[in-house]
Symmetry: C2
Subunit: 225 residues, 2 copies
């Protein structure tokens, strides 16, 4: 968790940034006040302005910091790609998970940096899908890009709604036990088809006429009482 690269980082400026990262991720940008951040960082509210200029500039600094860290981690991972360095992958995993809540929340708060990260994730996944499609018996009837965007969006739905998932399964998804349950469930979900392929084909064939429905319901998953 605290395996970050910068250790001598207990300066007030860094504490402010870390507090902002946590509060922005938890409550969102607008619901977080500079006084909240200052108190969490143990400094005066005026110090935020002294170091970062404004609340928006602080948010941009957080975005830049997250982006730079993720980029550095990514370079390390690709560098030791097939060296299978367990230390690197472990710390990389920690860094990614540490910023996941922040980035996903930033997506809803209109952060341009987060949007760029989203687009890049979609692109990576699209390439992966295109590679995987070659191994399929029948060529998919949909474009890889839409599938990639949906996969990323659905994946990010997990950290976005982590609080509700934790309540539903009775254990925090960030605790070891909850994390194990989540990983196992995801492996099961994505290695076994939820919908019968024939039924899917039939359903797809029935969609000649356009209907306004934003998201399909995988099983029959409605939100009825």
């Amino acid at each position: 968790m605290t395996d970050g690269p910068s250790f001598e980082d207990l300066t007030a400026r860094a504490r402010i940034r870390d507090a902002a990262l946590r509060l922005f991720a938890d409550k969102g940008f607008v619901a977080t006040t500079v006084r909240d951040i200052a108190q969490a960082a143990g400094v005066s509210p005026a110090l935020l302005r002294h170091h970062y200029g404004s609340k928006d500039a602080l948010r941009q600094a957080c975005d830049d910091y997250v982006l730079a860290t993720l980029r550095r981690v990514s370079e390390q991972v690709t560098a030791d790609h097939q060296m299978a360095n367990p230390v690197v992958s472990q710390s990389a995993r920690g860094a990614v998970s540490r910023f996941q809540l922040y980035v996903t929340r930033a997506l809803l708060d209109g952060s341009a940096t987060a949007a760029t990260l989203f687009d890049q994730s979609v692109k990576v996944t699209e390439l992966w899908l295109a590679r995987e499609d070659a191994n399929r018996a029948a060529a998919p009837s949909t474009d890889a890009r839409t599938r990639a965007a949906l996969i990323i969006a659905m994946k990010l739905g997990i950290p976005l709604l982590h609080e509700h998932i934790s309540r539903a399964i009775g254990v925090g998804v960030f605790e070891p036990e909850g994390d194990r349950r989540v990983v196992r469930a995801l492996l099961d979900i994505f290695s076994h088809p939820l919908i019968d392929p024939e039924l899917a084909a039939a359903t797809e064939a029935g969609f000649a006429e356009p209907v306004d429905r934003p998201a399909g319901s995988p099983p029959r998953g409605g939100s009825p009482p």
Copy 2:
């Protein structure tokens, strides 16, 4: 879209509620001011207080309205269950999609009503999964509840991030063309395993030691630059 049951609903009180529903869904609760709602509804800000008492009470009224509407729609659907009434199912689909953005956003804003809807959706999906598990060759190694919670969370990730999905695929997911693309892609995703079952089993076996990772990455979907 505007197939709602209450038509004589152009009263100012209803306009305020509708404007609040839209703005809360778009910008979130805290980022929406009572003056915003009043302007969108074409009334004075003081009228919000007159009709609803306070901003929080207005939010509760919106929650209640959504809950009541969804419940009524659900009853209609279950009543004409195998009658296959196309009109009912069509309007039901519209009503659900109309409130989807509001409910999902309310989940992030800490609405108790939305949390209850989430839990109920999980329960319904859990029962559906348990029924489906009977047809599987090998019994799943994970509990249905965790899988259900993740499926619901991932499904809700789509409306939550609809803006970014639309940008990624180049067409709005609420337009007919975007909706068709989304439905087709979802059918493909959930009818074809993304992960090879053997690989999944191997990965799962390797998870003896607990590592702190909130969400697994389906393909290799990272967020690198």
